[in-house]
């Protein structure tokens, strides 16, 4: 374990030190069962003594296996993603994979660019909440194994967090509390989750005889939620279900600005449960499974890389409502 030397040492020096051919050194590391135990030991000793580490790049060039995967998310700063990223990392780590992280900034162009940059150096990629068109996703999937999170494209392996189940519970919860007119504060139009949540609100409200209005926002964020409050109020609704917790938090702030008390005068439900009980009042929200999603997506990808089986996999994680303190009964 000598250190400090700058000159790179290659398989060749190790071969000379151990008195064998370069190929034997290679095999000592990659397929030791092909060599006599004695040779393996000699090579390993020599390598250790010199501090040799195989060059990943060279290996990747000849084998095509780089041991890298890429993970692209729309916005790292959105608290929904860090746990997902972290879980994916840990899973990758268990198989000695390195992960490239990309931030698309909610922009399909940027996402496309990133995929292109990564494609050459990874064995597979994961797109979380992709903002790309189905067509582009299919095109990329044709190049490399690809796993989607929260995006439902047929034929492409995907893990989906079914926020529908939780959202339905939320609507039922509000209906049970006596609300008759609610508003859904929507997220990005390109978001699959948004579509799913909007639909779930619509459907179950209809079934329960509630009136629903939709308020649009561009990007899910605190500020967007705050700005949406004006529109929310003019609808005359008594409760809002927000696309995500960040937006809900902004709504809470916007309502407070207007001296509207939550939950006394207005109820708010978030989605993704990323803030824990950190808001005030603590937020009623739909649970999230982002951690499991990240882990599942990564292991699914690794599995795919091993067995080229291309079954149409669709892994669904259900959610449920977490009732806290931003929802309360409403009487006319």
């Amino acid at each position: 374990m000598v250190s400090g030397q700058k000159q790179k040492l290659t398989i060749k020096q190790v071969a000379e030190a151990a008195g064998v051919a370069r190929s034997s050194v290679s095999r000592a590391f990659t397929r030791p069962e092909m060599l006599s135990p004695e040779t393996v030991r000699r090579v390993r000793d020599a390598a250790e003594k010199l501090g040799y580490v195989p060059n990943q790049t060279a290996r990747a060039l000849s084998t095509g296996r780089h041991g890298n995967v890429a993970l692209i998310v729309p916005d790292i700063a959105n608290p929904f993603f860090p746990p997902l990223i972290r879980a994916a990392q840990m899973e990758a780590d268990r198989s000695d994979f390195c992960v490239f992280l990309g931030n698309s900034d909610e922009d399909p162009k940027q996402e496309d660019k990133l995929v292109g940059r990564f494609t050459g150096q990874v064995e597979g990629l994961i797109l979380a909440s992709s903002r790309l068109s189905d067509e582009r996703i299919r095109a990329h999937a044709a190049q490399r194994p690809l796993v989607l999170i929260n995006r439902d494209v047929e034929g492409i392996p995907r893990v989906l967090i079914n926020s529908g189940s939780g959202v339905r519970e939320a609507v039922a919860h509000l209906a049970g509390l006596g609300h008759q007119h609610i508003v859904y504060v929507a997220g990005p139009v390109t978001s699959w989750s948004n579509k799913q949540r909007r639909l779930a609100v619509r459907k179950s409200a209809e079934r329960l005889g509630l009136k629903v209005d939709i308020v649009a926002t561009m990007v899910p964020s605190y500020d967007a939620g705050r700005e949406a409050v004006a529109a929310i109020i003019t609808t005359g609704a008594t409760a809002a279900i927000a696309f995500d917790d960040l937006t809900a938090q902004g709504i809470l702030a916007g309502l407070a600005d207007r001296k509207i008390r939550v939950p006394r005068q207005f109820s708010v439900v978030g989605c993704d449960d990323v803030l824990g009980a950190a808001t005030y009042p603590s937020l009623t929200t739909v649970s999230n499974r982002s951690l499991e999603a990240g882990k599942a997506a990564l292991s699914l990808l690794l599995e795919l890389l091993q067995s080229q089986s291309l079954r149409d996999i669709r892994y669904v994680l259900d959610t449920h409502l977490v009732v806290r303190n931003t929802t309360i009964g409403h009487k006319e």
Copy 2:
């Protein structure tokens, strides 16, 4: 721009299509000024038509330049880091660099392992809030260009967020409000920022004649803060400065559990301003410069890669106190 074809196309096919040698194709992309404009055009056209993209791995092998950097953080889920990561990403993106992300999980061993895994495939690395020993950091820096964030090791380029300035303001603020006995709720012992903050509290408290107690925690988190409350109370202090906002938020919760009103009965100051005004009451805290730190570290690294100048760079970002609603005057 043909697509769908699976077989990889190499510089050779392009060369044949354009009727030139492989080396000319290579040069058409990397050093067009060496070729006649006519040839460059022909090659580029052919490449375009076939949909050729240079193989990064092969390029990296022969040039040693991979166009990758690695960024290692102790905990992605800690809200201090995502903005930093994001800023670093964007900066890397501007130079067409890809970034590997590593999560050390606050564990020096894991961090060491990650550095090892990355070293072979990157041109340089950034260690944010490294938990490694100075010695290990120096060893790694000898292999590859390395930039530190929030870690002050002489001779190694580093960008430091000087939370000292903000913490001193915080102590002065509390003193000004009449507090005479405060407690510092410490973070990880291996954390440079923690050392810096603890020192700043100690020094300025001494200067202002305040009594200071220290309460230790292991990992900066909500739970750690909550659990620290018992110890905080037994000290008899009337205000706490927490290592970071997460810890502060936990303290807020722990105090609420015990029906201790903030700020009426007890004042709390956080650090890093990662929660915005999202806590209740909104948290008085020390501003953070994590975004700038990420950006600065990345551009510093890229600069280093270009000009092998190894000057001893130490880039410091000052912070200040953001007064919100968890601090208030205290009379005996």
